[in-house]
């Protein structure tokens, strides 16, 4: 078991100091930046130890030994965004037209972070509508976020997106989900 898979279980109590309204506004903003392809602003949300993960087969497997749709550390998030910014990432050039809804936002608990503090773990359901020349497609699932309070601002340390159809053939996923 890797750190990422193992820590799924070890969730502490919801940490102090995270205001529900502020957290929700942060999640909505993250969603809007992804929808609008604002790559610079989206990238600035992440911490240095970031992990962005879209698993298959339910998301219970060890991502270092099993395939994932996306399993990006901070460095690879940066590479992915650099590729998008070239304008020649054809899977996203022209970009998808997107809008997503977040709902069922739950504060799930706390998780120790490398700064010796505690990140807030939040769960939310989402529904994204993607329009491309290929057609309109609905993407839906459950996202788990880990948020870190830093300098009075929130940062995103972890985003795991479990698609409802993660065990089925998926079309190209060129946008930031």
């Amino acid at each position: 078991m890797t750190a990422a898979a193992k820590t799924e279980a070890n969730l502490g109590p919801v940490p102090e100091g995270f205001d529900r309204h502020t957290v929700e506004q942060f999640l909505y903003r993250e969603a809007r930046l992804a929808d609008e392809g604002d790559y610079d602003a989206w990238e600035a949300l992440w911490t240095d130890d970031a992990l962005y993960w879209v698993p298959i087969d339910g998301g219970g497997a060890d991502p270092q030994q099993q395939m994932s749709v996306i399993y990006d550390n901070r460095n690879r998030i940066s590479t992915r965004l650099k590729q998008l910014r070239t304008g020649k990432r054809y899977a996203q050039a022209p970009p998808s037209n997107l809008r997503r809804l977040l709902s069922n936002i739950e504060f799930l608990g706390g998780r120790a972070n490398p700064d010796g503090k505690v990140d807030l773990e939040v769960g939310a359901n989402f529904l994204a509508i993607e329009s491309r020349p290929r057609g309109v497609r609905l993407w839906g699932g459950r996202t788990t976020y880990r948020l870190r309070g830093r300098g009075g601002e929130l940062r995103l340390a972890y985003k795991k997106v479990v698609l409802v159809d993660n065990d089925q053939p998926l079309p190209t996923l060129g946008f930031l989900i």
Partner: protein, 416 residues
């Protein structure tokens, strides 16, 4: 235009061009199912996916829902997921371990070799045994663990079919210090709105990488682009029977650096390099320098150094790409890196394959335009040569592989 079914493929397939209807005509697709997917040897999966007796995994072979099983005697079977009673699916899980499959509809039960072992309320049949079983793919064979099925009860053997491609599969397996490849990392499933042949042709097309993948090569400083440049010493080889490869070894030999093919150096993977030297002795340097194959095995297995693709058709304009990372037995040091690199590259969000797939889909869309009616596959005809093994060889960016694909395709489609 509508094809003349069963004959006349020479009207659609010329040595230097192929007709657009080959990718768009549902009647041709139906004939491909009969003459290629349900006749020729087709890659299905890998023995390591059903490592233990009783293990099973659902696979696709053409449009068929196939259960790959390993029985208690270690025999592999490819069973069709259809009850002999009313046609219900007997297996609903993607994988598992079971000695038998019980149809949920009326409780008919089949052993994992396909034999019908029981059915409830036998008095209604006046007997305890019925002469029924699950359908089976009649011929199942494997090569270095790669499992193939053929619906033809006779015909060329798997080894005859693999021909010149067999050596490339062996070359992959030789990268394992234990001479064994495993495909145990799970498969990404990428739905693609394009005819399957556009994928098969593209796999050893050395012309596209600099253009389709320029975005990722540029931002990562990847040396892969240079392998497929106009002055690359790599070659494209028609291996016969529709198989083809991009042989990158001439480029890797130029640098003569162990592990360059994997984008790393031997100091980063010392345990693996040492194990390979112990295993292969004097041969090790060559193996470590030359790396893995980049070979398309007709009609649907593509081995791209560290990743494996299984292409299966759905309709004339849709197919599924299954992709996974190669895992080399005895090379733990490499295996995680292979999963990581592979996840970055392939599948619906892969930084390489999502762009290939975008090209497949735009290609399919473009083929709806009425003219020009043909697709051009002449590139490199002016500079092909025959190598020491009798294979036709073109330059790194030439369409030699495509022409080999179409020769095999035509021969299978023109067979009665």
């Amino acid at each position: 235009m509508t094809a003349v079914i069963g004959s006349g493929y020479d009207r659609l397939i010329k040595h230097d061009k192929v007709h657009g209807s080959l990718y768009t005509d549902p009647a041709i697709f139906a004939e491909e199912l009969r003459k290629i997917w349900y006749r020729s040897w087709v890659f299905v999966g890998h023995e390591s996916e059903v490592a233990q007796p009783g293990d099973y995994v659902r696979k696709r072979l053409g449009l068929q829902d196939v259960i790959m099983t390993r029985d208690r005697d270690d025999q592999l079977h490819l069973l069709l997921n259809r009850c002999a009673h009313r046609g219900n699916q007997v297996c609903s899980d993607a994988r598992g371990n079971a000695s038998a499959f019980r149809c949920p509809y009326h409780g008919w039960t089949y052993r994992n070799d396909g034999e019908l072992v029981g059915f409830p309320f036998f008095k209604g049949y006046g007997q305890r045994k019925l002469d029924l079983a699950l359908g089976r793919v009649p011929r199942v064979d494997s090569y270095h663990g790669f499992v193939f099925g053929s619906f033809a009860s006779d015909g060329p053997t798997l080894l005859e079919h693999l021909g010149g491609a067999a050596g490339e599969i062996a070359r992959l397996v030789r990268l394992s210090p234990e001479d064994r490849v495993e495909l145990t990392a799970g498969w990404l499933q990428h739905r693609t709105e394009a005819n399957w042949k556009l994928l098969a042709e593209n796999e050893t097309d050395g012309y596209h990488p600099q253009f389709v993948h320029g975005s990722i090569f540029g931002v990562t400083g990847s040396p892969i682009g240079a392998l497929y440049s106009d002055n690359s010493t790599a070659v494209t080889r028609d291996l016969g029977n529709g198989h083809s490869e991009n042989d990158l070894r001439p480029e890797f030999r130029k640098f003569a650096e162990p592990m360059r093919w994997f984008g790393t150096t031997e100091s980063r993977v010392p345990g693996y390099v040492a194990a390979m030297r112990t295993k292969h002795g004097a041969e090790a340097e060559r193996i470590l320098i030359e790396g893995g194959p980049h070979v398309m095995v007709f009609p649907n297995l593509f081995i791209a150094e560290i990743q494996i693709f299984n292409i299966q058709p759905v309709t004339v304009d849709q197919c599924i790409q299954y992709s996974t990372a190669v895992q080399l037995a005895g090379a733990a040091e490499l295996n995680r890196r292979m999963v990581s690199q592979c996840v970055g590259s392939v599948g619906p969000a892969g930084m390489l394959l999502a762009d290939d797939t975008e090209m497949y889909e735009r290609n399919q869309a473009g083929l709806a335009s009425l003219t020009p009616e043909w697709l051009d596959v002449r590139r490199g005809l002016n500079r092909e040569a025959i190598d020491e093994n009798g294979y036709t060889v073109g330059g790194a960016t030439d369409e030699t592989g495509m022409r080999g694909f179409w020769r095999q395709y035509k021969s299978l489609m023109e067979a009665p």
